[in-house]
């Protein structure tokens, strides 16, 4: 017998490295879930992770959420800002879970100091372990749209196409959270993402 309530709650694990915008993305997602009438919880660890370290943020929503953290093997979506970080957290996905990952690679200086190596086979590993992963060259895309910070909104746009949350709430929350002069651009980026998803 398997755990029952693991099917009712939607679990999204957002990952990346310090300073990439992981926390903002999960803030937006949990806000959208709350405004759509769900109980929502979100958990991350800030602190040391700000200095370029590993950052993860767990978002869960359903009628009633207890634990703010996702169990291994139960994430529905792994939303990743960095390719090797996707590999690091793949084991959190449930068998039917989907990967959305930016192709951006950030090589930690620790690698140059001889502490481990960057997983060059990342894309192959992800393809082997999951169905229909979405690889997106989000950084060049964002730069073309006019601002590297738009990576965040593009990735959320893709996720939004897989999550059953009203698109109006998405747009409302994004519009509220970005500076007024970036509003239009962010909504364009969101739609671009949504088209991919």
């Amino acid at each position: 017998m398997t755990r029952e309530n693991n099917k009712k709650t939607v679990n999204v694990l957002v990952v990346g490295t310090g300073g990439q915008g992981v926390i903002t993305a999960s803030e937006i997602l949990s806000d959208v879930a709350m405004r759509s009438g769900f109980d929502a919880k979100k958990s991350e660890i800030h602190g040391m992770s700000q200095r370029g370290g590993v950052v993860t943020s767990h978002v869960r929503y359903s009628e009633n959420v207890a634990s703010p953290i996702i169990m291994e093997g139960e994430a529905d979506i792994l939303l990743s800002f960095e390719l090797s970080e996707t590999v690091r957290w793949l084991h959190f996905l449930r068998p039917s879970g989907r990967v959305i990952t930016s192709l951006q690679k950030i090589i930690p200086p620790a690698v140059y100091a001889g502490m481990g190596s960057y997983p060059e086979e990342a894309q192959t590993v992800i393809k082997q372990r999951t169905t229909d992963p979405i690889f997106v060259d989000a950084l060049p895309m964002a730069e073309k749209l006019g601002n590297p910070r738009l990576v965040n909104t593009i990735l959320l746009g893709i996720a939004s196409a897989m999550l059953d949350l009203p698109v109006d709430e998405w747009k409302a929350v994004i519009a509220e959270r970005v500076p007024a002069n970036f509003k239009e651009l962010n909504l364009v980026a969101f739609d671009k993402g949504r088209d991919i998803g």
Binding site: S30, K41, M48, A66, S67, M71, G116, P119, V125
Partner: protein, 602 residues
């Protein structure tokens, strides 16, 4: 009623404001810092960063002595620093509500240990509340203040990182609040507030009486509640562990403890008597479990749920599976994907003012007592420039001890002894250590890294920055003046971005027989905007791929394409500088011996 998604820390700040708290004092420390940062933004409140936790608690006590509702927040290790006032405060009591918010860090996400501070409440015999989510955190602030006022003692609100930093939905209903008592001002009461032995002897029995009264409170409070369900399994739990238990064992009966000192022994007994198997699920120490054992009841806990690290739903499920009571199969163990274990430790930022000094220290062949702060991050390669980190302020005193021991024992060790400490940490507890060095004729070389902020915890003001928590302008303490006043006349500022000058200064101080202080004074990059004009670039005609610049551990420098080479030497790659993140500190330019790193103003 308004709904908002708040972190535990935001909820405590809001709860304190709604409950009429007027004064708050703290020293920053993850995961507690955001409480005061949020509280300070409310209207008509006074909030301050004190130089350390002992000072902060004493400020709070003085405030609560006037009857004003007061807040003191700290991370777990900060309560060690404030333990002295705490233990006697438990004797004196205070007329105004005083809430001590203590944020523990199971799992040591950003701490030097994972001590379980619930024992402090038991030690001091003060009531303790433990929230499991943001809603409870908000409500327990008022609850705690009421207890404090009614029983004439501080209340401890014990949080943990997961409760502080997780966000959950909070129903905000300011109308539900009880009236805030009117502060009656400071009233002289010598036998209560002057703890000479004769008077303290009178107070101690009152502490015991209070404990008895609180034992009644804890039996009837709504925050200690039984959720009856299947009685085969009964689980006693508190804090974040409650959420994991609800997630994993939805059909079990639960005794949810929101007040964990004193423990409700009758309620525990009543619960234990009605269930077939009794478990305790709690993070860190068997604090509740031991108490239940002493009561003579059969209970299972730490044999299934570890004392180490924070719990998680996975760990709780595994524990119940081991106990043979998990009502479903454990999910198959999820194997980590190959290539997923590359280390990605936190780093000093590009342009960090500490880098030049730490790089130079690495070249000194010295014993370096480090301290707590961003500079601690230099322990890993490539910088690897410190030998110890213990607790705040310890670098200077430990260096003094090492140097004295080496001298008196005649140890054959030619290595000079350094202490490296940040500005905020120097104000916290480094000053007294330096006083010891000078007073006792020590011989250590002290390095004060003045980056004009308390950086590690996210950038807070401190006594040297010229601004208060509420952003008022104030006197900025002059570190050089303090050092001189302590009796150390050999003190000067150096520029950590001048590598040659920095190394020369370190050598000079080693050669000098006596204590000395060097102060690096360059701001943390959190304090100013990056100037894209200052960016350095690698000239591929000059770069030999020697990796010297990579030894700086600057996140802006990486390796790029392979350098074409006709002789079959080892493969070498060009260094690359990321123009979007480089701060232009010019350290890499200085370490490059082929002049391949250049500055091209656009």
């Amino acid at each position: 009623m308004k709904k908002q998604i708040l972190s535990g820390n935001e909820a405590v700040a809001l709860g304190a404001f709604q409950a009429g708290v007027k004064v708050a004092s703290a020293y920053p420390g993850t995961p507690s810092t955001e409480i005061l940062q949020n509280f300070a933004t409310y209207k008509d409140v006074y909030a301050e960063w004190a130089p350390n936790e002992k000072v902060a608690l004493e400020v709070a006590i003085g405030s609560a002595m006037t009857g004003v509702r007061t807040l003191f927040t700290t991370k777990h290790v900060g309560l060690n620093v404030a333990a002295d006032p705490l233990m006697t405060l438990a004797y004196t009591g205070i007329p105004g509500g005083l809430l001590i918010v203590c944020a523990d860090d199971p799992g040591m996400h950003s701490s030097q240990n994972e001590q379980d501070n619930r024992f402090y409440a038991k030690f001091a015999k003060i009531p303790m509340l433990e929230p499991s989510d943001s809603q409870e955190a908000l409500e327990m602030v008022e609850e705690g203040l009421l207890l404090s006022e009614k029983y004439d003692c501080p209340t401890m609100l014990r949080m943990t990182t997961r409760v502080c930093h997780s966000k959950s939905i909070v129903q905000i209903d300011a109308g539900n609040q009880a009236a805030v008592p009117v502060a009656e001002g400071f009233k002289r009461d010598l036998k209560k507030f002057v703890m000479i032995p004769a008077f303290a002897k009178l107070r101690h029995p009152l502490v015991l009486e209070r404990e008895e009264k609180l034992e009644h409170v804890t039996e009837t409070t709504a925050v200690n509640r039984i959720e009856w369900n299947d009685k085969k399994i009964g689980i006693i739990t508190c804090g974040i562990a409650y959420q994991y238990v609800k997630e994993i064992m939805p059909d079990a009966s639960i005794l949810k403890l929101g007040m964990t000192f004193p423990l409700p022994k009758k309620k525990i007994k009543e619960f234990a008597d009605k269930v077939e198997r009794l478990f305790v699920v709690e993070e860190l120490e068997p604090y509740i479990e031991d108490e239940i054992r002493i009561m003579g009841l059969a209970v299972e806990g730490k044999i299934f749920f570890p004392k180490l690290d924070e719990l998680s739903p996975d760990i709780v499920a595994t524990g119940f599976a081991k106990a043979g009571v998990l009502p479903y199969d454990l999910p198959p163990v999820q194997e980590k994907a190959p290539g997923g274990s590359m280390p990605r430790p936190p780093l000093l930022c590009a342009g960090c003012p500490h880098r030049g000094l730490l790089y130079s220290l690495n070249k000194m062949k010295a014993i370096v007592h480090g301290d707590i702060g961003c500079s601690t991050l230099s322990v890993l390669p490539p910088l690897q420039s410190i030998d110890t980190t213990l607790c705040m302020g310890a670098s200077i005193s430990m260096a003094h001890g090492t140097a004295k021991a080496m001298a008196i024992a005649g140890l054959e060790d030619k290595r000079p002894v350094f202490a490296a400490i940040g500005d905020s940490t120097f104000f916290h507890s480094g000053i007294t250590s330096l006083m010891d060095v000078i007073y006792n004729k020590g011989n250590v070389n002290v390095l004060i890294m003045d980056n004009r902020i308390t950086a590690m915890t996210g950038g807070q003001q401190n006594p040297g920055t010229g601004r208060t928590l509420q952003m008022e302008e104030t006197y900025a303490v002059d570190i050089l003046e303090i050092v001189r006043a302590l009796g150390c006349k050999r003190v000067r500022e150096i520029d950590p971005f001048d590598l040659e000058g920095t190394i020369a200064a370190l050598k000079e101080e080693v050669a000098y027989d006596g204590p000395s202080v060097l102060v690096t004074k360059r701001p943390c990059v959190q304090l100013f905007r990056r100037d894209p004009q200052a960016v350095r670039t690698v000239d591929s005609d000059g770069c030999l791929g020697c990796k010297r610049c990579l030894k700086l551990g600057c996140p802006s420098i990486s390796q790029g394409d392979i350098i074409p080479d006709d002789a079959d030497k080892k493969e070498r790659r060009y260094s690359n500088i990321d123009a979007t993140t480089c701060y232009g500190c010019a350290l890499c330019e200085q370490v490059c011996t082929s002049n391949a790193i250049v500055y091209v103003p656009q």
